[in-house]
Symmetry: C2
Subunit: 261 residues, 2 copies
């Protein structure tokens, strides 16, 4: 995992759009007004890599111990400092964890989004889905503790944090929803499948991989290949032989095909 700390902070690959590293999106309602600076990378750029170290450490612990099991002490150990130092950068445990989750959501969405944008415009809907499958697996299994922290904890986080998180995750949900809709619009989705449920089952299979996969279970490439094949043949109404488009759909196009908006 490139963003796994293990002592060497390496100015992690995919950065959050909001730039810098001191994210702390100014959400209006967030407890009391901040009394302390919450050091947003005080001296322009390089100064405090510590904040990143703490975030990396928190992602690491969170993805393994779960929300309630994540202790500031464990994070501090992992980041090689004492627990109170965390409070120089974050106002509370909640705020730190929330930023980890938010970063996870950003990275997943950005990684998969970029993979899709890199495809030629004429790429078939099913091929786009396969590209998304690979990108999702890669950010989840190879690249980011933030991604696994998000995936494994979005169901266990307390109510308020959860609702704030929903907007961000909805964006990613929409990305997949569009992929599935395009497939359906092209008449390539087997008719007995429920669009939204198939969507959730597919993404679920990918998400669950975080629970079991490690390199000893088979190479990452094998996982990708198997997942793609499973999804492709599982969804396709064409049964990967030339079959006539399914009846009732005129030329497989119910809405105008919408590429990247």
């Amino acid at each position: 995992m490139i963003d796994t700390p293990s002592s060497i902070p390496r100015g992690h690959g995919q950065t959050v759009p909001s730039g810098g590293g001191a994210v702390s999106r100014d959400r209006s309602a967030h407890g009391k007004p901040r009394t302390r600076p919450v050091a947003k990378d005080p001296h322009g750029a390089k100064s405090s890599r510590t904040r990143e170290r703490i975030l990396d450490a928190a992602a690491h612990v969170l993805s393994r111990k779960g929300y309630a099991g994540t202790r500031l002490g464990d994070i501090a150990d992992q980041a090689q400092l004492q627990a109170p130092a965390i409070y120089y950068y974050f106002r509370s445990r909640e705020e730190l964890i929330e930023e980890v989750m938010w970063t996870g959501a950003q990275r997943v969405r950005q990684h998969v989004g970029q993979a899709l944008d890199a495809l030629p415009a004429e790429t078939a809907p099913m091929d786009r889905i396969c590209a998304a499958v690979e990108a999702h697996l890669r950010i989840e299994l190879e690249l980011s503790d933030f991604a696994t922290a998000l995936i494994r904890n979005s169901g266990q986080v307390p109510e308020d944090l959860r609702t704030r998180q929903l907007a961000e995750e909805a964006e990613y949900g929409k990305l997949w929803r569009d992929l599935f809709r395009d497939l359906d619009d092209a008449g390539e989705l087997r008719p007995e499948l429920d669009l939204r449920i198939a969507h959730m089952l597919v993404v679920g299979a990918l998400n669950w991989a975080a629970e079991w996969w490690n390199p000893r279970r088979g190479s990452f490439e094998t996982v990708v290949r198997t997942a793609q094949s499973l999804v492709r043949h599982g969804l396709s109404g064409r049964s990967h032989l030339a079959e006539p488009p399914r009846p009732g759909v005129i030329h497989g196009q119910r809405h105008p095909a919408r590429r990247t908006p």
Copy 2:
């Protein structure tokens, strides 16, 4: 969920093989020798439904809050008693939680196992898999908080509890492994699929359903139908048209077909 307490304890349907209700399998190494009786249903049969209430409550809380987030106070609330009363039936929080997880593993395995045993002996491998898909989804989504408690927490439980759990879960893994092997032996698994990875992806899609499904997402029957279709077409090398068995396999049978052992 039939075993969801919600005040009315109703002598839940699927009971654990070990019978009774006071399970407490006498594992040799389990901390100190018990100093207190740990009331194994003191008066033969009916006496203490309380123990069941506590277990149901614990399953409920555990499946929602996660291992570290499960408080004895919450369990007590749910079971309609005070927290210290729990210690009359269980020696510690950890022992209670472990019994919940163990019960979950038992019920899932038993439920799916029985569904398979009920099939005619000549049932095709793919049809057996589809039956297992339905049974797994049903115990997970409709029947048991114990099942979801197990599914959502087996990755977050502390080391020692986890290792003790593994034996039980391995049994269930074997059940699925056999299903997939039979399919492969019959030459019906598409050759580009990795057997074990496909297995994990399929079960993962089902497990993850606990994270998102509720009746508003579509009827349970729709979930089952979609999952079965996805799995059937995702795995099948026959592409659900009559296709010759894949090359290199003599009549689709590498090992003797083994039904229920």
